[in-house]
Each structure stands twice: as structure tokens, then as C-alpha cells.
């Protein structure tokens, strides 16, 4: 499939999906999911988009990042295109159009 030629500054879009109890941190009910179309410019990374996104939601920002704000905190999983970080993407991997970032809480059974 041919792709539309883009100028370097034309924004692309990816999806940020916030799932289940993590929705609480963005004013949601703590269940279900919320999806956001997030613009980015070529070369921007998973980290760039997530920092911009979480910057709009202080509670999420506090939960997602560690104290230095450079690394992720302990309890929210980040997946890109349904794979955990470390498989196809790290925080510093540039995104492609239509990539999907998922923010998912850690769970335990019982």
C-alpha cells in the first residue's frame, strides 16, 4: 500500500490507549478504556509522546514516571502495539504513524 508523502513537519498520529484502573488518573471511571489520538512529528519517541500526554494529567504523571521523571515508575505497564517495552520498542524508539501505546496497570491474582 502506498503511503502519502509527508513533509518533515507535518504531524503524524498515534493512539494512546488508557486501560482499566489507569483511567482513574485521567478522570475516568477506573474501568473500560479511553483512547486518544496524539500528534507527533517524525523522529519523536515513545518517551516524547508519553511525557507530553502525561503532562496534561498530573495524577497520571505522578504514577507513570519515577521521581527523576526520566524513567518509568513501578506500577504502570507500557505496551507498544501490544508488546511490552523491550521487545520491539524502548522508551527511546521513534514512533511510526498509527502506532498504539497502551498504559496498563499491573495486576496480581489471588
Amino acid at each position: 500500500m502506498g503511503e502519502k508523502a509527508l513533509s518533515p513537519l507535518e504531524p503524524l498520529h498515534c493512539t494512546v490507549e488508557v486501560v482499566s484502573w489507569v483511567t482513574k488518573f485521567i478522570g475516568g471511571p477506573g474501568a473500560g478504556r479511553k483512547e486518544f489520538e496524539e500528534p507527533f512529528v517524525p523522529g519523536e519517541t515513545v518517551r516524547d509522546v508519553l511525557q507530553r500526554f502525561s503532562g496534561r494529567y498530573p495524577e497520571l504523571d505522578a504514577a507513570l514516571w519515577d521521581a527523576s521523571k526520566k524513567g518509568l515508575g513501578e506500577h504502570i505497564e507500557v505496551m507498544v502495539n501490544d508488546a511490552v517495552l523491550g521487545i520491539t520498542h524502548t522508551l527511546d524508539t521513534p514512533l511510526k504513524a498509527n502506532d498504539r501505546i497502551t498504559l496498563l496497570g499491573q495486576y496480581m491474582g489471588g
Partner: protein, 641 residues
């Protein structure tokens, strides 16, 4: 003394010694079922500081009193029902019970927990633990009401499931609810099903390693404790309240715990599905059927699909445990306990059942017959796959059993619980049944070579728990992931498919669960920082108990349990997953991630970091010395060092 009593003891009340730490009753209740002798035994403040309670205390008693020739079904095996120093205090979820024994699945050490009111009732009766030995000449139940302790005739309870047993004893004693805690076995335990469990207070199950089979072998149907009248003092009551408030605040607000606070373990179904960790149809896929909308499996949907009410344990403010009513179908109107995640998994997804109503019903049948829901899931899913693929025939089984058939699964459960027909083989658990059938049947079975039953996840996408399950000495897990791992110096997150990182994390957190399981508190209310738990323990006891001491305590307990297992002949040669359990997912989020390729390296790393010898499995001499376990040196290494 009751007219039906087999044996009775009026135990003289003991005045609280001035040196006794707060939070402790100060006595162990000893019961010899063979002779009917019942007595109490003090334990010292020094022992309390060293072994705390729960699994810490149980591990030491097990090591000291159960020799290598005392197998799980030997009358000299001990069944230790222990609580801890926080039980009965106003810290959330402190009705905790830890069962320690030599269990039937691994024929090794066991530590398995349940809650409800047992721990609080036991403490209010004046005991920190019950240590049961021997075998009753006829079926009995243990009745405790402060200083009156009886072994009573239980023949009228035989054949009753766990809920019927509790109903009967409540009626017999005219007490119910918080006033009477009853933990019992069901038909499965009576018939020595190898993965039988012990259930109490309508829905709380100590399920691991066949502890119910041990209780059945002892011909002990139930333990029944009236909420006692003994005072329970904390060294610093205000400090306990402050720590309890901080723990509650943490559970309500911290990202690691707030979903547990609101919905218990329900949200795990959808969350773990997205990670490829939800086990589906005996690990044959990681994808939900096309007709299933995962949005229907969100936590709130699962809860709100039923009439429900809270069913909290002692002093608990979590919105976790619930009772619910079956809303439709053949079993409409039946009261069931809301399944934990493990129930949705073992009574549901693992056997291809995706009707929440059917899963909720079957889950309670499992609790009432009283077997481990994880092992039942692996076993039933394996039989269903066997019928589909032909390695088990309908003629062998006696009926047809297809994926998702909850009524058929209950029929299988009853066959197993009563050891009827093919159920007699299945009652040995999936490992032994599969080894007997061999070939394709063995290849399809989910188990650990050691015999421990994996938790209700697809561990092929959760390598930390697979490593923990295979190396643990308890019949289940002995780490505690996920918790605040940075608290003990570990990185906040790892690549879950990097064996080196996984092994470092599991090794780094070894023993945390033992600390939690020694406090008399629920694992779901200890999802806070160790610092908070140590503050609560310090305020309760009057000690200055540090995080460092808690880590050392957990590792000390792990080393004692490992030494016990090694003495039983359980070593590194069995620390492997079965072929299916250690296989590579063929679809879903973890597709292609091969744990088997990294397993040996993971073990190498884990052994190096926990300070155990890779070849023999023994804690190294320097590890023992560091943990203050010099007394184990001679036993493990044959000479004084």
C-alpha cells in the same frame, strides 16, 4: 466438656508475662489426635523476634519436628495453623491464617494462606498457632472456646461440603458470622484427593500443596473457633492506629494497590489478557474466542453482573471479598462467593468457559468440594483437551466433556472428590495422571516437575512467577512480585522476556512473601511498602523492626524451608516446568517468547544471587552464617564450619 467430646482439656489461663511482646497471645496450642492429648506451650520473646509467626514459626516447627521419613500422609506429620502478631489488631485484613505442613503435591514444605476471621478468633482465644500431630482414631473436629479445647465427634459432618460443614457447626453452637470461625475440608479432603484444600468462613481457601489431604489423613474434619474473650495488647496502640491509617491510605491511593482496594482481583482478567498472561484452554491459545467481548470482563462489569454484597475479613476496609447471587439459568438464586482472579481463571478461561455466571457457580462448587482451583483448572483443561485430541476417551471418562462445559466440569469435580471411576486417577493431580498416561497426554499437561501447581496465569508470559514457582520451597510462590521493588534496591521495571533481568528480580525479592505471611495479615493488604508493615509490627510488638530485618527474616525462612525440602530429597533436579508449561506461546502478546531457551541461565543467575549452591541446591555456608542460621550448617554441609 461436651457430651460428644473425644478429648477435652481445660487449659489454665496464663497471665501475660511482662516481657511478652505486644500483639502476641504467647502460647501455641498443641493437639495430638492419636492420644487425644491437648496442651499449651509458651514460646519465648526471643523466638517471637526470630520467627515472628505464620510461615516463619511454621517453618521452624516443621524443620524441628518432621523428619525425612515422615511423608505427607504419616501420622507424625504436623499440620500447623498459625497466625501472626498483627492478627486481631485494627490493621486491615488481619484475620490471617497460614497453613504449614509437609504437603501432598510435592511431599515437601507447604505455606498457604487464607483469611476470614480465623487468626483473630485464635488470638482472642489466647493462642498464636495450633500444632496438630497424630491421627484421630475416628473423625473429629477441634473446638476452641478460650481455655476449653475439645476434640469432638465429627461423624455427622462426613460427606458434607465446606459450606454445609460451617452451616452445621454454626447451628450446633448457636453462633455465626464473626463469632465463629470454621475451617474445614470437604469431600475431597476426606477422600485424600492430593490437591485437596482447607476452606473457611465461606470462601477463604488455603489451597496449596494438598494441605486438605493432610488434614483428611489426620481424620480432622474441621477446626472451629469461637471468638474468644482474651485481651490482646499492643505495645504502642496509637502507633498501631497510625500505621494502620497509613497502610489504608496507601492501599486506597497508590497505583500498585488502588484497583485491589476498589475491585479486588477482578480487573486482572482483562489486564492480564492484554499481557498474554491469562491462561486460555490449557495454554493452547492466548486469544479470546471471537464471540467474547473482553469489555464484558472488566472488573466492574463482573461485579455488577450479580446481586452482591461485601464479605470483608477481620478489620478489613478493602472492597475485595464479596458474596453474590447467581442471576439466571439453572442455578438462579444460589449464593456463591465472588471468584478471585484465580477462580475466573481456573474455573473459567483455563477450561474454555467464558460465561461469567457459569464460572462463578463452578468456582464455588470447587471451594465447597474443596480442592485447589488452580490445579483443578489445569486438570480439567487437560481432560477437555484430551477428549478433543483423543489422548483421553469418553469411555475412560464415562461421559463427554467439551471446552467450556461448566456442568460437565462439576461432574468431573464430584468424580475426583469421591475418587469415583477415572476420578480416582485424576485425584492424584495432573502431573501424576499425565505421567501415568504418558505420550501426548504427558506433553499437554501443565505442572512443575517438583509437583507444585502453578498459579492461574499463563506463566509463559510471566517468567518471574514461573521461576518462583519452580524454585520455591512452599508448593507455590515465595517472592512477592509485583510490589515496590525499588524499596529493596531493584530496578522499577524489567523486560519480562529477558531471563537475566527476571532472575535478578525474583532473587532480589526472595522472602518478601514469607515476611508478609508471618504477620497474620492478608497478602492483599500487605501490598504496601515494607516500611509501613515494619512500622505496624514495631508498634504492635514494641520492637524496632527495620526493613533490613524483614528482608533478612524472609530469606532466613526461605533457607529453612529449602533445607527441609533438601532433607526430603527435593532439590534442583526437579526445578523445571513440564513440557507444556515451559513451552512457547504460538499466538497472542507473548507469541514466540521462549522461556525454555533461557531457563538454565535464569537458574544460574537466581542461584548465584540468593547464595545457594547451584549443584546441590543448598544454601551456602556463608549465606547461612549471614542469615544467623549457623545451626543449619552441620545438617546441610555435614560438619561444623
Amino acid at each position: 466438656m461436651s457430651p460428644t467430646a473425644l478429648a477435652s482439656t481445660k487449659i489454665a489461663p496464663r497471665s501475660r508475662a511482662e516481657t511478652l511482646p505486644g500483639g502476641y497471645a504467647g502460647k501455641l496450642l498443641r493437639v495430638n489426635l492419636t492420644t487425644g492429648k491437648i496442651w499449651s506451650e509458651p514460646w519465648t520473646p526471643e523466638e517471637m523476634r526470630l520467627y515472628v509467626g505464620g510461615v516463619g514459626l511454621g517453618a521452624k516447627i516443621l524443620y524441628d519436628e518432621v523428619g525425612p521419613r515422615v511423608n505427607w500422609d504419616h501420622r507424625d506429620n504436623r499440620l500447623i495453623l498459625a497466625t501472626g502478631p498483627l492478627a486481631g489488631l485494627p490493621v486491615w485484613g488481619t484475620g490471617g491464617l497460614t497453613v504449614v505442613t509437609r504437603g501432598a503435591m510435592t511431599n515437601g514444605a507447604t505455606s498457604t494462606q487464607a483469611n476470614g476471621f480465623f487468626g483473630a478468633c485464635l488470638k482472642f482465644s489466647g493462642y498464636d498457632a495450633i500444632v496438630i500431630q497424630g491421627q484421630a482414631p475416628r473423625w473429629a473436629y477441634l473446638y476452641i472456646n478460650d481455655d476449653v479445647v475439645d476434640l469432638r465427634d465429627a461423624r455427622h459432618l462426613l460427606g458434607k461440603d465446606t459450606w454445609e460443614t460451617q452451616d452445621a457447626l454454626s447451628a450446633e453452637h448457636g453462633l455465626s458470622g464473626h463469632q465463629l470461625s470454621v475451617y474445614s475440608i470437604g469431600p475431597a479432603g476426606e477422600n485424600l484427593v492430593r490437591f485437596a484444600a482447607i476452606q473457611g468462613d465461606y470462601g477463604h481457601v488455603a489451597s496449596k500443596n494438598g494441605c486438605g489431604a493432610v488434614m483428611g489423613k489426620k481424620r480432622l474434619k474441621a477446626v472451629c473457633i469461637v471468638r474468644g474473650t482474651r485481651a490482646l495488647a499492643a505495645a504502642d496502640p496509637r502507633g498501631v492506629i497510625q500505621a494502620a491509617d497509613d497502610i489504608a491510605h496507601d492501599l486506597k491511593t497508590d497505583p500498585s494497590a488502588r484497583s485491589l482496594y476498589e475491585w479486588g482481583t477482578l480487573p486482572a482478567v482483562v489486564g492480564l489478557y492484554k499481557m498474554g498472561v491469562l491462561p486460555i484452554k490449557n495454554y493452547t491459545t492466548n486469544l479470546a474466542p471471537p464471540n467474547v467481548n473482553m469489555a464484558d470482563w472488566e472488573g466492574p462489569k463482573l461485579r455488577q453482573g450479580f446481586d452482591h454484597r461485601g464479605h470483608q475479613c477481620s478489620a478489613c476496609g478493602m472492597h475485595h471479598c464479596h458474596m453474590q447471587v447467581i442471576p439466571k439459568g439453572k442455578h438462579k438464586g444460589e449464593l456463591v462467593d465472588e471468584p478471585e482472579y484465580e477462580g475466573w481463571s481456573g474455573a473459567g478461561w483455563a477450561i474454555g468457559c467464558t460465561d461469567p455466571t457459569a464460572v462463578a457457580w463452578l468456582n464455588t462448587r470447587i471451594d465447597r468440594a474443596c480442592v485447589d482451583v488452580n490445579e483443578f483448572g489445569w486438570l480439567c483443561g487437560w481432560v477437555m483437551e484430551g477428549i478433543e485430541k483423543g489422548f483421553i476417551t469418553k469411555a475412560q471418562l464415562g461421559f463427554d466433556l467439551g471446552w467450556g462445559d461448566a456442568e460437565g466440569a462439576n461432574r468431573l469435580l464430584q468424580m475426583i472428590s469421591h475418587r469415583k471411576g477415572f476420578g480416582d486417577l485424576l485425584a492424584e493431580g495432573v502431573k501424576r495422571a499425565a505421567e501415568k498416561l504418558g505420550g501426548a497426554a504427558q506433553d499437554a499437561a501443565i505442572y512443575t516437575v517438583k509437583g507444585a501447581s502453578p498459579r492461574g496465569h499463563d506463566h509463559r508470559a510471566r517468567w518471574d512467577e514461573m521461576l518462583d514457582t519452580c524454585t520455591a520451597s512452599t508448593g507455590t510462590l515465595e517472592s512477592g512480585i509485583p510490589v515496590h521493588v525499588t524499596e529493596v534496591g531493584l530496578p522499577p521495571r524489567i523486560n519480562p522476556f529477558n531471563g537475566e533481568e527476571v532472575a535478578r528480580q525474583v532473587a532480589g525479592i526472595l522472602g518478601r512473601r514469607h515476611f508478609e505471611d508471618s504477620l497474620g495479615a492478608c497478602i492483599f493488604t500487605t501490598r504496601t511498602r515494607l516500611e509501613n508493615m515494619c512500622r505496624a509490627l514495631s508498634a504492635a510488638t514494641g520492637w524496632n523492626y527495620t526493613v533490613t530485618e524483614s528482608v533478612s527474616f524472609g530469606r532466613r525462612t526461605a533457607a529453612i524451608l529449602r533445607a527441609f525440602n533438601l532433607r526430603c530429597g527435593i532439590g534442583p533436579d526437579v526445578e523445571y516446568p513440564s513440557k507444556r508449561y515451559g513451552s512457547t506461546p504460538t499466538d497472542g502478546p507473548a507469541k514466540g517468547q521462549a522461556v525454555g531457551e533461557q531457563w538454565e541461565k535464569m537458574l544460574d543467575t537466581w542461584y548465584g544471587l540468593v547464595g545457594y549452591d547451584r549443584k546441590t541446591g543448598k544454601p551456602k555456608p556463608e549465606t547461612l552464617k549471614k542469615l544467623g542460621l549457623d545451626w543449619l550448617l552441620k545438617d546441610l554441609w555435614g560438619k561444623k564450619r
